[in-house]
């Protein structure tokens, strides 16, 4: 109940944030603009619409998670409202989990609305429903959950600007860490290779949630890959939230 109350309160607070609507506006504009972009291409126009639409969902969703998530805990500390909360019989992990779930709910609503616009634009072009697109959207949402957790983690000990930069770095690392595989292949067996191997396994691999190419090109995906990717996202998010809880527990507000 305590977590639910914090989550609902966070949701109410988040939907009042103007930046959310600004990002939503840009995302919707980008999705609609994809129709104009498609006119410029030679060949498959629907591909451009799907590519740009899914990219907008992912990018603006990540920006929402980062820009709102990084301020969630910091604002409470900055405005001293944290004292009121922690003086209540509530655990700090419950507070963080509530914040996380509140922002998750906000993102769910926003991604849901953006997806509706996106699917409508695709439908207007193809005159048929494409349920496979939902797979890509679901995994974009799982990716956003992880980014939300990361934003909250940095928000526990840093200012919103720094947290945003750190979270963006996490996002970029997550989408480029697969490149380490090439480096590992080039390195000779030894400590450097082991280090590279460890980093490759430990650093986030957000490409595990990227099904955009497969969905747009109609490629087959093994069902077990959905399963393992989903679990990977879940456990990485749990790891980050646990880390956030440990850091938040160590903070002295008295």
């Amino acid at each position: 109940m305590k977590v639910k109350a914090i989550a609902l309160n966070t949701f109410r607070e988040a939907i009042r944030d103007r930046i959310l609507y600004l990002l939503f506006f840009f995302a919707a504009a980008a999705i609609i603009f994809s129709r104009l972009l498609a006119i410029l291409t030679v060949g498959d126009r629907v591909k451009i619409i799907k590519d740009v639409g899914l990219a907008s969902l992912s990018l603006f969703g990540a920006l929402m998670a980062i820009l709102i998530g990084t301020g969630l805990v910091y604002k409470e500390i900055d405005k001293k409202t944290i004292f009121t909360v922690i003086s209540k019989p509530i655990h700090r992990w419950q507070f963080l989990l509530g914040k996380f779930l509140g922002l998750t709910l906000t993102l769910l609503v926003m991604i849901g609305l953006m997806s509706l616009i996106f699917l409508a634009v695709v439908f207007a072009h193809t005159l048929r429903l494409e349920p496979r697109l939902l797979i890509a959207i679901v995994f974009i949402f799982i990716e956003l959950l992880l980014i939300t957790a990361v934003a909250i983690l940095f928000s526990c000990f840093s200012t919103p600007i720094l947290s945003s930069i750190f979270s963006l770095a996490f996002y970029l690392i997550g989408h480029t860490s697969w490149g380490l595989e090439t480096l590992i292949r080039k390195l000779r067996p030894g400590p450097w290779r082991m280090l590279a191997q460890f980093l490759y396994t430990f650093l986030p691999d957000l490409e595990n949630f990227n099904f955009r190419t497969e969905v747009v090109h109609g490629l087959t995906i093994q069902p077990k890959f959905y399963f393992y990717s989903g679990l990977y996202g879940l456990f990485y998010t749990l790891f980050i939230l646990t880390l956030a809880t440990i850091i938040f527990k160590k903070r002295d507000f008295v």
């Binding site: 497969e214 090109h217 087959t220 890959f225 990485y236 749990l238 880390l243 809880t245 440990i246 527990k249």
Partner: protein, 289 residues
């Protein structure tokens, strides 16, 4: 009192629980990452390449980091063109290397690599030369581009093109002497013997060391022999037309008025003549002198 003792202990336990959970969750997600990597995904390698805009426009989006982006695209291109599983990887070769050229026009390596990939891997000499032409266009002071183009054309035995590029390279200040030698060589291959002789003579006269002098001398021998052979064989041909047979020896050509004198090779030796076949050859092999 009891409460105050139990609270810190509970806190210790919760911290320990969190630490263990942190460790476990990290082990699980690392294990899942390994598991995910084991599942092959249907990729369309390089499918996004065609969406990379021209370097001209991309440059504006780099906020002054165009060189870094050029480096990154170049590094990526090396990996991409090393992947033999991508059967259509050469389709956008020109596009990719022209992007790098626009982002960092003075970066020489990508032009060289792009041209080598085009000629050796894609078996497309014209594309390779096009990439090197672009390099020269962006760096008109670099003799290396026409030189490399000449080398690739020579490799594909297109000596006419090689000659044109070597000439271009020769005209750029700083080009090494080697370029002039290659120009003379390709002129010989295209049977422009006069130009070849003249150029080898220049090389011989301006040579700074004995090795180059010896190389030039050998080639002068070869070119002069080719010119002389041509003159003698033409005379033999005319003799054959008139008498219906080959001359018994080369002196007959002088006596019959087809030649004023029998030319000698560069070392003053007589050419060897086979009356049966009418073939003329040198007394020694040019590169073994």
């Amino acid at each position: 009192m009891k409460l105050s003792l139990s609270q810190p202990r509970l806190r210790d336990w919760s911290s320990l629980f969190l630490a263990v959970f942190l460790l476990l969750s990290s082990l699980v997600f690392m294990g899942l990452k390994v598991r995910c990597d084991q599942i092959s995904r249907g990729r369309i390698p390089g499918s996004a390449i065609i969406y990379i805009p021209s370097g001209k426009y991309l440059k504006y989006a780099t906020f002054g980091f165009s060189s870094v982006l050029a480096d990154l695209i170049y590094l990526w291109a090396i990996q991409y063109y090393s992947d033999y599983s991508i059967s259509d990887r050469f389709d956008h070769l020109e596009h990719i290397f022209s992007i790098i050229a626009e982002l960092d026009p003075r970066y020489v390596d990508p032009y060289e690599l792009g041209a080598i990939v085009a000629v050796y891997e894609a078996n497309n000499l014209n594309l390779g030369l096009k990439i090197l032409d672009l390099g020269l266009e962006k760096n008109p002071q670099e003799w290396f581009f026409p030189f490399q183009a000449g080398q690739l054309a020579q490799l594909r035995k297109n000596y006419e093109l090689a000659r044109i590029y070597y000439k271009k390279a020769m005209e750029i200040p700083g080009a090494p002497d080697l370029v002039k030698r290659l120009y003379a060589f390709s002129a010989f291959k295209t049977m422009d013997l006069e130009t070849s002789l003249k150029t080898w003579l220049e090389v011989y006269e301006t040579a700074q060391d004995d090795r180059v002098k010896k190389i030039a001398s050998n080639h002068l021998y070869q070119v002069k022999a080719a010119i002389d052979k041509k003159v003698i064989e033409e005379a033999i041909g005319r003799f054959r037309e008139k008498y219906g047979r080959n001359p018994y020896d080369l002196n007959q050509l002088v006596r019959a008025g087809f030649l004023k004198e029998i030319p000698k090779d560069l070392d003053g030796l007589d050419y060897l003549y086979d009356a049966q076949t009418g073939e003329v050859r040198t007394a020694q092999i040019w590169w073994k002198r």
